[in-house]
C-alpha cells in the first residue's frame, strides 16, 4: 500500500535547524520506510529528509516554515512524527542552542 501525506510546521527553534536538531530530524525520518522530503517552501526546493548532510547544509533559519512530503506505507505516521518533533522544539535540543 502506498500513500502520500504532507504537512508543514513553523520552525521556532532558537537558532534554526542547526546540528543537533538536524541529527534528530534525520534519525526520525530514517525510522520510517516512506520516502520523505523536506521543503523550505511549499513548492520546494526539496531535500531528502533522511540525508543528514543535506538537511544540515540547508541551514534553515528560525521562522522558516518546514514542509514535509512523504510517500510510502507509513507516510501519514512519518509526517505526523516529524511535524510533532519540530512542534516539540526537538525534545530539548534547545539546551544546545545557547552553546551553538
Amino acid at each position: 500500500m502506498t500513500a502520500q501525506a504532507s504537512g508543514s510546521i513553523l520552525l521556532t527553534h532558537a537558532i534554526g535547524l542547526h546540528a543537533r536538531p538536524s541529527v534528530k530530524l534525520t534519525k526520525l525520518a530514517k525510522s520510517f520506510a516512506s520516502a520523505i522530503r523536506l521543503g523550505t517552501g511549499p513548492d520546494g526546493p526539496w531535500i531528502d529528509a533522511k540525508s543528514i548532510v543535506k538537511v544540515m547544509a540547508a541551514k534553515v533559519p528560525q521562522g522558516a516554515k518546514l514542509h514535509f512530503e512523504a510517500e510510502g506505507s507509513d507516510a501519514s505516521a512519518a509526517v505526523a512524527a516529524l511535524v510533532g518533533l519540530v512542534e516539540r522544539d526537538f525534545d530539548g535540543a534547545e539546551a544546545d542552542a545557547a552553546s551553538g
Binding site: 546540528a19 543537533r20 541529527v23 534525520t26 534519525k27 530514517k30 533522511k50 540525508s51 543528514i52 548532510v53
Partner: protein
C-alpha cells in the same frame, strides 16, 4: 552484536579523539558502536597501530567499521591496523576521507539508521569541501 556499523575515531590528540566521541554520543546517541584512540603511550601527540586495533575491536560490528582520522599518520596507521586484521574482517573496515569531527557525526547519524558500511562512508565523504 550491533546491527549498526561501528565508528572509530583516530586523532593525534587524546582530547580531540575523546571530544569527538563525546559529540557523537551526545548528538547521535548510543545505538552506534563507538571507540576512539589518540595520543602516544607517553602522553604526547601521536597515533599507534596497537591502540587503533583495540579501538576497532571495541567498536566491532558485523556490518563493519568506519574509521575517521585527522592527519597523515592517523591515516597510515589506521590502514596498517586494517591490514593486520584477521581475514574475516577484511573488506569490512574503511577509512573515511572526511573531516574528523563533522565526518564522525555524519557517519554515526547515517549508521544509526542501519545503513551499510558503504552508505556510511559515502555520507561522511559527502561533506568534503566542494
Amino acid at each position: 552484536m550491533s546491527r549498526n556499523v561501528g565508528i572509530v575515531i583516530v586523532s593525534h590528540s587524546t582530547d580531540v579523539a575523546r571530544g569527538t566521541a563525546d559529540m557523537v554520543r551526545q548528538m547521535v546517541g548510543s545505538e552506534v558502536p563507538l571507540a576512539f584512540c589518540g595520543g602516544d603511550p607517553g602522553g604526547g601527540l601521536g597515533t599507534n597501530v596497537e591502540a587503533i586495533m583495540r579501538a576497532i575491536d571495541a567498536a566491532w560490528s558485523e556490518k563493519g567499521v568506519a574509521i575517521l582520522v585527522d592527519l597523515g599518520g592517523a591515516e597510515t596507521n589506521s590502514e596498517m591496523a586494517i591490514e593486520l586484521q584477521p581475514p574475516e574482517r577484511q573488506g569490512k573496515i574503511v577509512v573515511c576521507n572526511a573531516p574528523i569531527v563533522e565526518g564522525a557525526v555524519m557517519a554515526a547519524t547515517e549508521a544509526s539508521g542501519g545503513a551499510t558500511l558503504q552508505e556510511v562512508k559515502r555520507t561522511a565523504e559527502e561533506l568534503s569541501p566542494t
